[in-house]
Amino acid sequence: MKRSQSIQQEFMRKRRWQFVVKPMTVAIAAIAAGCSSNREEATFVQSVSDCVDRTAMNVEQCTYAYEQALSEARRTGPKYQHKSHCETDFGIEQCYQAPNNIWTPLISGFLVGYIANQALNSNREIDIDFYGGGYKKRRYNPVYRYDSYVGGNYNKLMTADGTIIGKHGQSTYKVPKKTLTQKMPSSKKTISRGGFGSVASAKSSWGGGKSSRSWGG
């Protein structure tokens, strides 16, 4: 064969598919009950064992949290009419068929709020309440990882309601502010712009100012 074996066509698509069911709004603040700020810190865990390793919760609690996240995902997660549309956003083999012929992405993990994590040791009351069943009162948001370049969200994490919480790979998430690429930060301010492009600009005035569509060839 003299041509590319296969091209991931959905990857090349620029117009975005729409969710067929509009995601319900879930307040992110709910991950940290008792705290009204939506800038609460949360830990993103990828599995029950990751949850046990990286939070103060035990296996039983983490399993509960995982199941809650799955149930939340079924309820509010993104839904698509076609498998390919779902895979466009979340990646190949990252979607499964839910009831009613709806396609929905697999979750990448879930969020464990700060209180359910680190505050346990410092506050006896919360501690007792938490282990006494309080952990069941909290909401564990399912998290999806975008695999689409459309819309600039590649590799970003999104909760079921469509809120982008940040780039994949952080240990905790506060506010979605990480940019997509790892640019080299410069400590110096730009002092001048526009030093390239003048020859093209001079040449394009040839022929009555019809701008060229291309400086390539």
């Binding site: 003299k2 590319s4 640019k183 410069s186 002092i191 390239f196 492009g197």
Partner: protein, 390 residues
């Protein structure tokens, strides 16, 4: 090699919108034209185009090796003296190339003849690597073309592979893509290459050429004041080297795609140099510098081409012996001088003259594109047609 009419896919315009192919029609004229396609045999592709493309690439690299060490040639190639070191250094460092397009006149029977090398800022790669590939898939699926129909086009696969190699050679830098404002075709081309780079796992960003800045350290910056350390620019070196920021180029730790040494190959002075080093090569046309015109066969019609020119501008066909122009195109180029190449007309298929673009990714032949024009000089209003191998 045949030109065969075929029905257009009914929904192709809508698909073009979905895929972000916005320049299929320009100035009210078709650019992408799928009312016909060209058909090749595998032998025509491999023997007449693929092999010569890789051979000429090697010949071009020996021209660079020769010119880089010779001041007289650097003058002839119109490289500003202040930037000789930049060009030399990029070659001596082995700065890698991403891609090039060789333009050939080829009629399916006689050896393909090299017109020029678009080594610095080749365009029409999206149409080649993706869009004509998709056309073939669709037409085969629809039963309009036989299942075994193939295409000489591994461009996209090779680009993605090449970007991974480039990242390996240029580790831990984000790659900024860049082109000029108000150039939809260039913007589309750059977006495609950025998509391929992302697919290969590179970290990418975009800045317009006119928006590039520098800080007090002389580092180039984007609109977020972030440092540009690695850059793909769809903007000719011959322009950049003559612009105000050229003075910062050598003080900067920045890598470019294409690298500065490619300015020797996108240069029409390449053509007489190739003829000097590889005289009578079957895929070359005789070519001369202006002061060597006496070496040309006096009965030979010649084509006069500016050292620097884009999209067929300022090219004229001149009469044998008297050297008076017969037909020519206008444009803003020519101040750096001209070279002369033996006239070898493009083949005609029906009403159209057709030109083959043969793509290189790195040093490997990767596929072809075909452009048609109503006139004998292919310009920026030419049409792009798909092809098949049967």
């Amino acid at each position: 090699m045949l030109r065969i009419p075929i029905n257009e896919r009914e929904n192709w315009q809508e698909m073009a919108t979905d895929y972000g192919f916005h320049f299929h029609t320009m100035y009210g004229e078709r650019y992408w034209d799928e009312r016909a396609y060209y058909q090749f045999t595998l032998e025509q592709i491999e023997r007449d185009l693929e092999d010569p493309t890789e051979e000429i690439q090697q010949m071009c690299l020996s021209v660079v090796e020769r010119v880089i060490h010779d001041d007289e040639y650097l003058h002839r190639f119109c490289i500003p003296e202040a930037h000789w070191d930049l060009v030399r250094q990029s070659w001596l460092n082995g700065d890698p190339s991403l891609y090039s397009r060789l333009d050939f006149s080829y009629d399916g029977k006689s050896p393909a003849k090299l017109y020029e090398n678009n080594a610095d800022t080749p365009t029409s790669i999206y149409e080649t690597g993706f869009w004509q590939w998709l056309w073939l898939e669709d037409q085969v699926q629809a039963g309009k073309l036989p299942k075994q129909a193939d295409q000489f086009n591994s461009v996209q696969e090779k680009l993605i592979q090449r970007f991974s190699e480039l990242e390996y050679l240029t580790p831990s830098r984000a790659l900024h893509f860049s082109c000029c404002k108000d150039t939809p075709e260039d913007r589309g081309t750059v977006q495609y290459l950025e998509d391929c780079a992302k697919y290969a796992g590179l970290s990418t960003d975009f800045v317009f050429i006119e928006d590039i800045g520098h800080n007090e350290l002389g580092e180039f910056t984007d609109m977020d004041d972030a440092m540009i350390t690695w850059m793909f620019k769809l903007y000719p070196w011959e322009f950049m080297l003559r612009e105000p920021y050229a003075e910062w180029l050598q003080k900067n730790n920045v890598r470019f795609i294409e690298p500065p040494w490619k300015s020797l190959l996108s240069n029409k002075a390449l053509l007489p140099m190739l003829w000097k080093l590889f005289p009578n090569h079957p895929n070359l046309l005789p070519a001369y510098f202006e002061d060597e015109l006496n070496q040309a066969n006096p009965t030979q019609t010649l084509v006069k081409k500016p050292i620097f020119s884009r999209e067929g501008a300022n090219v004229s066909i001149i009469e044998a012996g008297t050297h008076t122009p017969i037909v020519g195109s206008e444009g803003p180029y020519g101040e750096e001088g001209f070279i002369y190449q033996a006239h070898h007309p493009l083949p005609r298929f029906g009403e159209s003259y057709s030109l083959i673009g043969s793509w290189l990714v790195g040093d490997e032949a990767a596929g072809i594109s075909i452009r048609e024009d109503e006139g004998p000089i292919t310009q920026d209003m030419s049409r792009f047609l798909p092809h098949v191998i049967v």
